[in-house]
Amino acid sequence: MDKVMSNKRIIALYVLPSIILIMAIIYIPIVLTGYYGLMRWNGIGSMEFIGFDNYSALLKDDKFWDSVMHSLVFALLSTVTLALYLIVALVLTGNIKGANLFRKIYLLPMLLSSVAIAQLWLKVYHPTTGILNTLLVSLGFSDPPAWLSDPKYVLGALFVPILWQYAGFYILIYYAALKNIPNTLVEAALIDGATPRQIAIRIKLPLIMEVIKVTIVLAVVGSLKYFDLIFVMTGGGPNGHSEVMASYMYRQAFKAFDFGYGSAIGFFLLIICLVATWVIRKLTETKDPIQYS
């Protein structure tokens, strides 16, 4: 068995094409980006080597650290909301009629492009004619906030569409994982008199622990480099109150023509993601992955 399963030629055949692909398309460019971070370069003209000036400027750049904080807030909120998605997935995989339909409906927002989602939510949040404020006014609030232009609310207001957009994605992953648990295990527990809640906590959750860990990494890393919706909805404004790392990087590299600095931000973003992932792995470490027996 072991001999067959460690056949080097087969392993190479399976793994090498993918490694070559991501090396060429992801790693070489990002290494180049780290290298551009050592340059004074507007992305157009010639480069000038300036050592770690961009990186040290970055460490002192308050606006950058604000954007890091905003990204971290998104990452934290996204992780917490995973619990919500998990509960919905657990409910759907219980003996619920129409579970299949619900699951499909929940994924619908994912199908829309960010342009469309941003347009929709801009209309929800419009300060005078938006759905939300119209509702609040009819409930008796005379002066509801202007959600996207008020520094106090803008981050929270941006998070709701993200939560909503990704609901289907995580529910789908959890649903598929839960469905993969052999029925025999659940039936055996039912025979032993376990309640649905006990089955969920004692049997189902431990069995999909690996999937949960993966989704935590996905949620955190995804949030840290999140860009689309924020860029379309607020452009990082007002006055940088919703700027995140990726939008700050884009602005510096493509709008302010400071490609060297933008590259330094991009590289730093990667490092922050790495640290975050390492922390998550440490926090969620378990002995051995559980096997179905």
Binding site: L13, P17, N42, G43, I44, G45, S46, L122, Y125, H126, P127, T128, A146, W147, L148, S149, D150, P151, V154, T234, G235, G237, P238, N239, G240, R251, Q252, F254, K255, A256, F257, D258, F259
Partner: protein, 428 residues
């Protein structure tokens, strides 16, 4: 089974090769191909799109050996792609660029060819003075403008009449208009503050009327924002914000969203470039009754201020450049010259775009608002180029944020001036 895996790989490889074979297109012998990039997609800018196509067709008819290929991108995507292309030295032979601050990195990187030979030759004295100059750097001109805009304040005559308001001549009149409208629950001014440049118009005008036409240009050129008038203009702007002059939540609204409040007659005034004029005159999708209600006025003067009412915020928009690295540079220049000459009057009569070349208003047939504005432009003492265009790209980005902060009352007028000073001095 191993064979099967290899077969799968072979299939993938074959697929990739077929695809790439389809993708490559060969050029041929004697013919000259000029690649052109522009930003007028058929879907939104049909008139400009058609005009460009007409010009290209007639040029190709006159020059049988020349083929002109166009690539069309939307505004923001166009800017990003231009940057990626120049980063890898593959700019199109002919394209569009913005003036001053946008142009500078491209010129210093030796990406654009000097067009002085055209300006001295075929196109001598064709441009409105001050327009082609906006694309000059170190005494050479690197792009030739195809449009020129100024920023009037549009207003809804019906709303003004309802509250017995006159077109304001002075700042005090203007504040009175704002107050009356605000007291009656009408949004006085609609502003899409999410995009900082919209607020910048208001600030620029106040600087101009308060400190004279050259104050801002000089401050940006010398990287010195310490003149007290620059902070005072910021203060006047915040007073306006305090009066409730602008629509609710303006800092979170795009220009399109803000514009709709003016179009839906919920707001009395709207300051925007003359590119909006077709929407108030010729656009068939806009009801005539609305068009009839819209007028424009000059930004009011400030009592005791150094400015006059006949200077405008505005400037040339995009201009045609020729890539320095183009293999068909001479052909491309010839085409640019031809394009500018053809574009001239046609652009205003057919596309509603005010060209940067001189237009004789007595000979053409246009809606009155167009004629009035062209005449204003003809008699303008000065057109002050948009602040963000004057500034270098890094400072321009900072300017947008600071304008948002100023309008949102997150910073004091003094800090606004101080931080603008800092960002100018950073030299990015």
């Amino acid at each position: 089974m191993k064979r099967k895996a290899i077969a799968v790989w072979a299939l993938m490889l074959a697929l990739v090769m077929v695809v790439s074979a389809c993708g490559s297109s060969g050029g041929s012998g004697d013919k000259v191909t000029i690649n052109m990039m522009h930003l007028w997609p058929e879907g939104t800018s049909k008139t400009q799109y058609t005009l460009v196509k007409e010009i290209i067709d007639s040029y190709e008819k006159e020059h049988k050996n020349v083929k002109i290929k166009t690539e069309i991108l939307e505004n923001e995507q166009y800017k990003d792609k231009l940057k990626v292309l120049s980063g890898s030295n593959t700019l199109p032979d002919v394209g569009l660029a913005w003036a001053a601050g946008f142009l500078e990195p491209y010129v210093t990187a030796n990406q654009f060819a000097s067009l002085d030979d055209l300006l001295q030759g075929d196109l001598k004295d064709k441009f409105v003075s001050g327009t082609a100059e906006a694309y000059a750097l170190g005494g050479k001109t690197y792009a030739l403008p195809v449009e020129l805009n100024i920023v009037p304040v549009y207003y809804n005559k019906e709303i003004f009449a309802k509250y017995n308001l006159q077109v304001p001549q002075t700042w005090d009149d203007f504040k009175n208009v704002v107050k009356t409208l605000a007291d009656n629950g009408v949004t006085p001014i609609t502003l899409g503050g999410k995009e900082g440049w919209t607020g910048s118009f208001w600030y620029m005008y106040l600087v101009d009327r308060l400190g004279g036409a050259d104050l801002l240009d000089k401050a940006i050129a010398t990287n010195d924002f310490s003149d007290p008038k620059l902070a005072e203009a910021a203060k006047m702007l915040q007073e306006l914000v305090d009066m409730g002059a602008f629509n609710k939540g303006f800092n979170g609204l795009s220009n399109d969203e803000a514009k709709s409040e003016f179009n839906n007659e919920k707001a009395g005034m709207y300051a925007m470039g003359t590119w909006e004029v077709p929407n108030f005159t010729t656009n068939p999708d806009v009801p005539q009754e609305f068009k009839d209600k819209i007028g424009f006025f000059r930004f009011p003067t400030v009592t005791g201020g150094a400015g006059t009412s006949d200077t405008w915020v505005g400037g040339p928009g995009v201009g045609l450049f020729v890539s320095e690295k183009s293999k068909v540079k001479d052909e491309a220049k010839k085409f640019v010259s031809y394009f500018i000459q053809q574009w001239g009057e046609k652009s205003v009569t057919e596309a509603g775009v005010i060209p940067a070349t001189k237009v004789d208003t007595s000979k053409i047939n246009l809606p009155p608002m167009f004629i009035d504005l062209l005449n204003e432009l003809g008699s303008a003492k000065k057109v002050t180029l948009y602040a963000d265009v004057q500034m270098k790209p890094g400072a321009a980005q900072e300017h947008y944020k600071l304008i948002q902060a100023l309008f949102g009352k997150e910073i004091t007028p003094e800090d606004f001036a101080k931080k603008t000073d800092d960002s100018l001095k950073a030299g990015k």
